[in-house]
Symmetry: C2
Subunit: 887 residues, 2 copies
């Protein structure tokens, strides 16, 4: 027989804190506290397995659940000395959901369950407090009707207001027992009116109704959305906790409160919390009465004139402080506790590891380690990499008022505000005259790089998490919201429309690249503050991790940022990004429109010095570290002019007419540029391009000295492509060595970014000295999914649960991951010392970093601003922590 | 020590006919004939391994080659009784290339090698025929200079002409010994003048020069191109045959000729050939003298007035006829033989399996089987599937005069001629008034379907072998040349420019989709003629093969053609092709521009009857056979209007304005539609579309009865996509069964056309009852290669040898093939009885069919016109014949 129900209370429990999967977080911790001998009102937990069975079995409970619940209720009755549903001596219970992870959107709590007209009478007799009983009764009806029966609470609030008007009352406390009695009757009538059936008075029916509501809420839309956003599988299920009621609202020797073993905002090691005398838990939350500080320290710090619990109930405070020490030492983590005092007795209702701000998380982990509570590994384990991300970027002040204009994808974290401009040229011009701008585009293209560089933030109305805008913005550390589909942009009139408002050029907006929100006007922000704890933690992180972390960077600024953030080299220098500078693009365009090799070579000759200088400065910044340079990758049409003026200029430079240029552009047009004439296909068909790039790299290496460039050939599908180009690169290296009388080492390797390359990795490794997995393109091809176009349906897919994560954000380990593993295995079989890395966007995603660590890669490479996150994730991976995804 | 040299002659040989890989075809057969005791002039073969070693080793010969050649020469000298280079009694030799497969473009032959001023004198003394000797000498100098030294033959022809003018000679036969002597001196002087060094007179130098020229020619451009076109790997290498000269030009008891054991044009079982008295082999070929028929039968048949060999040299003819019988019985195949008669003695210089026309190949195979020479399996093995293809389509008459305007890819076989039109509407209009048209487009799109249907032939200037035009044309059996890059089309003026000529609308051209040629005017054609042999062979084919062959078809015409060609069902019915009819496209456009599901459903409701009728007629034609129907696959923007008039119509039908339609089109625009919102992604996000299609399929099944539709979901990447859609399809099937009170069976399966689907085939097979490999898209994604864009560099890749075959024509077995194998294995592991097929273009490519047979697929599906080819290839695969590719 499966055990579906676990009891706790009175110094013992069936379960323990280790059984979160079965009992949920709340249930497991109630069991743990009971076993620790802490005062916990007795109760029981219906396991998450019941939830799973319920959904697997067409919403039917397991057969023997009923009898197990009855047995558990009897045990609680025995402990409390009262009987559930007994008219004379009734037991009241709370029913709460409790999933493995805390989950807003679930049915939360029903209190005072078991009350009806008869048990209320019994409770009056027992407690001698009629007002308290009928106040509790009406609260129960409202809560139960709202969360279980679906009768909105405003119906009840309306009746209460009417009654107060009638009686000329101002506060709820003005109402007496009879008022509440009247309202209880009105409430019941309202339920009947709304549902066409009476409010359930049978305590058993109430209990099973509440249990059913908890399980039912597991599949409501909010819960589903939350799970999707937080990557919680639906089959985890929720548990249900049924627990004897204790009352903090039976008089002035009663109280209720929440407490944190340390300050959850700052991380300071001080007992922290709030409480209210003569109140139920909901009163603390509801904000009708101002909660009082827990400690004198806190009162003084906050300048509160309300007395602290430490002063009002000193012995109970001391008892609570002992519980604090006990629990933090036991759990070795900051605890978030709920307590109730009933008639001078302290009851613990919940403990759990408390939520904390990014800053607090970092401080607590470092402090606890230095206090000896946890070791360094544990301190490193404690930090959520997403938290670290927050610490590195400006944030919208969570307390600020804001008008949300729309939402897009959180494409590059951080917040920014500025004046709206609608094209890159304007961005550059406005920025030159000192304006802060937000660049708003339907989508961006490589031509916009200049404007993107100077913008405070970027907003696009199309494109996904790995669209051009998103990738480039992350690389620059510029906040970006992409694919904000509800916003429409009109380039002609230089306006955007959002939420019925028209925003014109020059109007101020804010973008929050962490949440994806677009906000009207300037919104207050919190600037990042890297404390001493950050430095300490990163030292520990680096001691623990085994996988190296490099950065994707091509500009000196990015390279310097990367190095400052601890990058151990450049894993991807995209040489094409260097071509968009106006001084250079004219030459690359000349090259493209040349019909003969000689013309191309002449144009490339002019580009050579620029490229060489690029590499010289990169090599200097990255001194002593490896630099991987990817040869030209995008299709040539990306460089061609779109405007008439640009075409005229190119025509002039190339000694031809505009019509020819236009025809060139037309001829180069591709239906699917992602799968077109790009990458090494350019290198094979126009070897002079790669030859120039190889020459620039080697001449720079010769000049700087002491650097080992890693020359990377993109988009290899066939061994022969690699072999030909490697032979050419080796030849150029020899020529440069001879010409410059210089010696330098270098490696030649390839991207593995096509399924075929992964499958044929064994033979490609015969020549390739390193592989770098281009997981962006590998995802596009393995999935048959264009990252620029997928925005349209990927989000729907996630909402529907067709896919759990955006595969462009967090690696699709089952599909793309298998190809990575195949390539690692086959590559190493051919060349055991082959260097293996990854330079796709996934290099900055913790879950993906964990996968790459397991797959045995030597390094990951990510945008400069994600380097600390990748370092942390790599350390956690080395510790065997399960990785969470950004997706 | 490696044996580099194999001798033959005098009734024995080191090699045999089975050693073609090592000795080349010519060498192996010379050895075989020697062993059979046939009269073969003695000689030796330098193996293909020398060629490979030569290129692997920077064009150096193996060390011990020289000594082995010397030994072999000595053996020949002993046999002939003459010495190579000996002034008194010189041995002359021929040097010929001989690869495994016959290969035009290679250096062919040098005759009379060993002649110089001294040996010529010796030969005069020996033969007593000075004229013959100096005639041979001048021929040698010209031939050797041309093919070994690179001095063009026109230099020598010019000198000969001048001499003839000088002497007032008309014919070569007018020249005497002194004339040739004079010319020999002039020839030598000319060589010296051209090269700045004298003609090599040392026989050893001559020999090694000729050997080097053979090996060198293996890598000349023509040979490389030929290998690419015929799919011959470069590492096969060529052999070199050195053989004692015999002379057919030493008098009237001498002759030379070629003979076929059967008629190579018709396949008739009659001895066939040509000969010339007192001539060298080149005279037969050169066409200066008219060759004479071999037999009386032939002379009478051809109405020739020249006497046959059977009449002129009856005993030698009989001897040759015995050789004919001997060789055909020995090789059990039609032989193409070369012979020379010197002084009344017959010498066999070569035998090989003779080239034959498609018609002859078929007749010979069937005849030989019925004669008992070969069995049915062998008869089936004999037919090159490409030959079958010829028999099914009209061909350009090979003897016709033609003006080639340009060349493109041979995209859909067969030839056609008609008046040029430049758009689909014109094609339909002209065709309605009875004109035959060739539709010329830069590229075609699904909108052009109507015009493509009525055109005799299709010509595009862009796109590869699997571009839209190519795929659709092959499906229709319409001749098509695609990607003819040298032709430029101007839609505005309705003209095309080719070879400097302007072709206007209405001008007549011919297209040859078998060769890729575009020809001016109307060119005579040969109509296909399916003889009784075809039927016989196909019966044998069907007995042998184990893999089924289906067709890709959606129109009743195509389905009927397919069935007539022996298709065993439809493997791919592309439902979207049914939407382009003007009566329907308006509804699909209405559906697309509807913003709400209700609007989409209303539009789909109008499409339902059309689709149902489509399926009813398909099911009727395919009665008793399976029909696989793929649900909507292409992105919706493919259906949107491009012209203003169409937009207005759609706007009207959808009750909106043109601007909205235009915005819709813009919003649906995709950067990489191949990787975009298409296939089951449409089905998941707009389930009502697939629901309508499923309903149409099942209502048709209910109406026709006795049919088992196979509903196919395209572009599945993730199991959940399939599961959701299958659940919906099952629901619709249940509804239709209930509504129509009908019973029918059906299967639900998926395309495997993404690498991820292949990798996850195990879990997809949990729900999928069949897999059909969409190898077109699987190739695009595995290779990262757009078939519409790849034309630009794939051909260059093939010319360069980067890839051997176009992966869209012949399956990339190493890459894409591995994914197919993985999916087969994993799919069968989950569901052992899963039905496995392939419906990509590769279904009609013999080499690919062989692969699919090995991979264990149940069927291949190809265009209707390729069904017989696929049947034959499947039979050959079952016989273990190595498959040749179309690529």
């Amino acid at each position: 027989m499966t055990k579906w129900v676990y009891t706790f209370g009175a110094g013992k429990a069936d379960g323990s804190a280790t059984m979160k999967e079965l009992l949920g977080g709340k249930g497991a911790n109630l069991a743990e506290m009971s076993s620790l001998g802490l005062p916990v009102p007795p109760g029981f937990t219906i396991t998450t397995e019941v939830c799973t069975a319920y959904y697997d079995n067409d919403r039917q409970y397991p057969d023997d659940l009923k009898s197990q619940v009855e047995t558990a209720i009897s045990a609680v009755e025995a402990e409390v000395g009262a009987k559930f549903g007994d008219a004379a001596n009734p037991l009241l219970v709370s029913v709460r959901s409790g999933a493995r992870a805390s989950m807003p959107g679930m049915m939360d709590t029903v209190l005072n369950l078991g009350l009806n007209d008869e048990t209320a009478q019994g409770l009056v007799a027992k407690s001698g407090d009629e007002r308290f009983v009928y106040d509790s009764y009406r609260r129960f009806i409202q809560m139960y009707s709202d969360v279980v029966l679906g009768v909105d609470h405003h119906h009840f609030e309306e009746l209460l207001e009417l009654h107060k008007e009638d009686k000329d009352f101002e506060l709820d406390t003005d109402l007496g027992a009879d008022d509440w009695k009247t309202l209880v009757e009105q409430y019941k009538a309202k339920v009947n009116e709304q549902l066409g059936r009476p409010f359930p008075l049978d305590p058993q029916e109430q209990l099973w109704g509440a249990i059913g509501a908890v399980f039912g809420s597991w599949m409501n839309q909010r819960a589903i959305t939350y799970r999707r956003l937080h990557d919680i599988p639906a089959d985890w299920g929720t548990a249900v906790n049924v627990q004897a009621m204790v009352f903090g609202n039976m008089g002035d020797d009663c109280a209720t409160g929440v407490a944190f073993t340390r300050n959850p905002s700052t991380g300071d090691n001080h007992f922290y919390g709030e409480y209210l005398v003569n109140a139920q838990g909901e009163d603390v939350v509801a904000g009708i009465r101002t909660p009082q500080p827990l400690t004198i320290y806190e009162r003084e710090l906050g300048g509160s004139d309300l007395p602290s619990m430490e002063e009002v109930m000193p012995s109970l405070y001391k008892e609570l402080a002992v519980v604090r020490d006990r629990l933090e030492a036991h759990y070795t983590d900051m605890q978030d506790m709920e307590f109730t005092i009933q008639g001078g007795k302290l009851w613990m209702l919940q403990t759990r590891s408390g939520k904390r701000t990014a800053k607090a998380a970092l401080k607590m982990a470092v402090d606890m380690c230095e206090e000896g509570l946890i070791d360094r590994n544990e301190a490193v384990r404690r930090i959520d990499p997403a938290h670290l991300d927050q610490l590195l970027h400006p944030m919208i002040d969570p307390n600020a008022d804001k008008t949300v204009l729309g939402r897009g994808l959180p494409a590059s974290p951080g917040a920014a505000c500025g004046k709206v401009v609608f094209n890159a040229e304007d961005a550059e011009e406005w920025s030159k005259r000192g304006e802060k701008v937000i660049l708003v585009r339907i989508e961006t293209s490589p031509e916009d790089i200049g404007g993107m560089h100077v913008a405070q933030g970027i907003l696009t109305t199309r494109g996904g998490m790995t669209s051009h805008a998103a990738v480039v913005a992350r690389g620059m550390g510029t906040p970006c919201v992409s694919g904000a589909g509800t916003i429409s942009v009109d380039y002609k009139t230089k306006t955007m429309k959002a939420l019925g408002k028209v925003i014109a050029e020059g109007d101020v907006i804010s973008v929050d690249g962490t949440s994806g929100e677009i906000l009207l006007g300037e919104v207050p922000m919190i600037q990042p503050e890297l404390t001493g704890e950050f430095g300490k933690l990163m030292v520990w992180v680096d001691e623990i991790r085994t996988m190296k972390v490099r950065a994707n960077a091509e500009t000196p600024t990015d390279a310097q940022t990367a190095r400052d953030f601890g990058a151990e080299g450049i894993g991807l220098c995209r040489t094409e990004h260097m071509f968009f500078d106006p001084a250079r693009i004219i030459h690359i365009r000349e090259m493209i429109v040349a019909t003969e090799e000689a013309g191309r070579r002449a144009a490339l000759e002019k580009l050579l010095p620029y490229q060489r200088e690029d590499f010289i400065s990169l090599f200097r910044i990255m001194e002593g570290l490896p630099v991987t340079i990817r040869l030209l990758d995008p299709p040539l049409h990306e460089f061609l002019p779109h405007t008439e003026a640009d075409m005229v200029e190119v025509a002039k430079a190339a000694g031809t007419d505009v019509e020819t240029i236009r025809r060139h552009a037309e001829e180069l047009h591709e239906f699917n540029p992602m799968l077109g004439h790009r990458g090494c296909r350019l290198g094979v068909t126009y070897p002079e391009i790669y030859e120039m790039q190889a020459r620039a790299i080697f001449e720079a290496a010769a000049e700087v000295g002491g650097v080992t460039p890693e020359v990377m050939i993109p988009l290899v599908a066939v061994k022969e492509e690699f072999e030909r180009l490697k032979a050419m690169i080796d030849r150029v290296a020899d020529e440069v060595k001879k010409d410059k009388r210089a010696a330098f080492d270098y490696l030649v390797g390839t991207m593995i970014e096509l399924p075929r390359a992964a499958l044929r990795a064994g033979e490609i490794a015969e020549g390739a000295e390193f592989f770098s997995f281009g997981t962006n393109d590998l995802t596009q091809t393995t999935y048959g999914l264009s990252r620029d176009d997928a925005g349209r349906f990927l989000q729907i897919y996630q909402e529907m649960g067709v896919i759990e994560r955006d595969p462009f954000v967090s690696l699709d380990q089952d599909g793309v991951g298998e190809l990575v593993k195949i390539a690692v295995e086959r590559g190493r079989a051919t060349r055991p010392d082959i260097k293996l890395g990854i330079c796709g966007e996934h290099g900055g995603d913790p879950a993906s970093v964990h996968f790459f660590n397991r797959a045995g890669l030597d390094y990951v490479s990510c945008s400069p601003f994600r380097v600390p996150i990748a370092r942390l994730a790599a350390a956690q991976a080395a510790l065997g922590v399960e990785g969470e995804s950004n997706a």
